[in-house]
């Protein structure tokens, strides 16, 4: 067993275009975004959330940026602030959105165009493997 260095392991993730890997740095930054989102697994919490989103967010140790991104359903911004997609899924599921609908909002495409891309076989990996290699 070789002992890989965690720094080089992590550094490679930044070389993938259009992707935020849920590293520890992100997990720590987004801790309360994710814990808030997870709370929406309980129907009584979903009811309180739907009744008054702003009031519900007060209980969760979130900063103004994080609150604004949640209220705006700005998922790319939420990823940058440390949100993880599986936690964030509790927010869009509560909104009645599917993974496909919510995910498309992060790509700059309309839901229809995104759906059509998927039906045609999805996004090609060519050109989006590595920023450095440009492949």
């Amino acid at each position: 067993m070789s002992h890989q260095d965690i720094h080089s392991y992590l550094a490679a993730f930044d070389d993938i275009p259009g992707t935020r890997v849920y590293t520890v740095a992100r997990a720590r930054q987004g801790y309360w975004i994710n814990q808030f989102a997870m709370s929406l697994m309980k129907p009584e919490n979903r009811a309180r959330w739907k009744a008054d989103e702003k009031a519900y967010l007060e209980g969760w140790n979130l900063d103004e940026d994080q609150k604004a991104a949640i209220l705006a359903r700005d998922y790319n911004r939420l990823l940058d602030l440390g949100g993880n997609i599986y936690f964030l899924a509790k927010i869009f599921s509560t909104d009645g959105l599917s993974f496909l609908q919510a995910v498309s909002t992060m790509t700059g495409m309309s839901v229809e165009d995104y759906q059509a891309m998927m039906l045609a076989g999805g996004r090609s990996p060519n050109g989006v493997r590595s920023i450095k290699e440009g492949n």
């Binding site: 259009g18 890997v21 520890v24 989102a37 997870m38």
Partner: protein, 280 residues
């Protein structure tokens, strides 16, 4: 003695569960996906395994950020479907096999795997969608299930090699269990998918199919695939495929491929499915 009689790999996309639950499996979008499981449903109905060790990942359902186990084995009598934000799936409660689960947990710890034992847990689509794909919509699941939850959400997940080694340890454990049980190991998740960011929607059918090939033809090579390769080639959530290696490691050196299916898309994801049989 108990023995591992087969391995199953399958994606566990939540939309597949929704399609089943809402009776949409015959719709044109879904029909070709489900058709690829017809053979397997017939096979497993004849095969009648007693227990499935179901390797999956929790998608922020049973575990929040307070606690992140790398390998968590469910030793409870039963496991309720989780409410992931739209109510729990209308599927039966999953019945565990505490005797075998505890036996595996103990054996693996003696074998120097640092297991986390779970006695109360809900299970999400990662576990219930594979059951629906193989068993349809019964009133009760016709098999006992031992959930094995692997962290593939917060980095780093376990290496592919570590997953393979755990599979080998699970096999040793099963074979030292007294009692005549037919045990299957299922590896779930994948294949290509990325659920986040501007690169979302990535699918790499060529890489996926090479991976499917290697499961039966060049399996030692699978252990050496680094995490970054899954991420670059198959999207950020493609990392789930490391979990297939626990299943593959449990089957021993050689396997025969009984069935194979690959379909794009299910929602954002490339669906891959294998049925493998160990060759003595």
């Amino acid at each position: 003695m108990a023995r591992i009689t087969a391995g199953v790999a399958t994606s566990h996309v939540p939309a597949i569960g929704a399609a089943i639950d809402l009776g949409k499996t015959k719709e044109p979008y879904w029909q070709p996906l489900f058709a690829g499981y017809d053979w397997s449903r017939q096979w497993i109905a004849e095969e009648k395994p007693d227990v499935v060790i179901l390797v999956y990942n929790d998608h922020a359902s049973a575990f929040d950020m307070k606690i992140i186990p790398t390998f968590a084995i469910g030793c409870a009598e039963s496991f309720k479907p989780a409410d992931e934000g739209w109510g729990p799936r209308p599927v039966p409660t999953v019945q565990g096999h505490p005797d075998l689960a505890w036996h595996i947990a103990q054996s693996c710890i003696l074998d120097e795997f640092d297991m986390t034992i779970i006695n109360e847990m809900e299970v999400d689509h990662g576990l219930t969608v594979p059951l629906s794909l193989l068993f349809g919509q019964p009133d009760a699941w016709p098999v006992k299930v031992i959930p094995l939850a692997v962290n593939v959400v917060t980095y780093p997940p376990p290496s592919g090699n570590r997953c393979w080694l755990l599979g080998e340890a699970i096999r040793r454990a099963v074979e030292s269990f007294p009692g005549d049980l037919k045990v299957q190991v299922w590896g779930t998740g994948g294949m290509s998918h990325q659920l986040q960011g501007p690169r979302a929607g990535l699918i790499n059918a060529e890489w996926d199919n090479r991976f499917l090939d290697m499961m039966s033809q060049d399996s030692q090579r699978l252990r050496t695939i680094p995490h970054i390769e899954y991420l670059r080639e198959t999207g950020s959530e493609g990392i789930e495929m490391v979990m297939w290696l626990i299943m593959r490691g449990a089957l021993g050196a050689d396997v025969r491929q009984l069935h194979r299916h690959y379909h794009v898309p299910a929602s954002n994801t490339a669906v891959g499915h294998l049925v493998l049989e160990p060759v003595a």
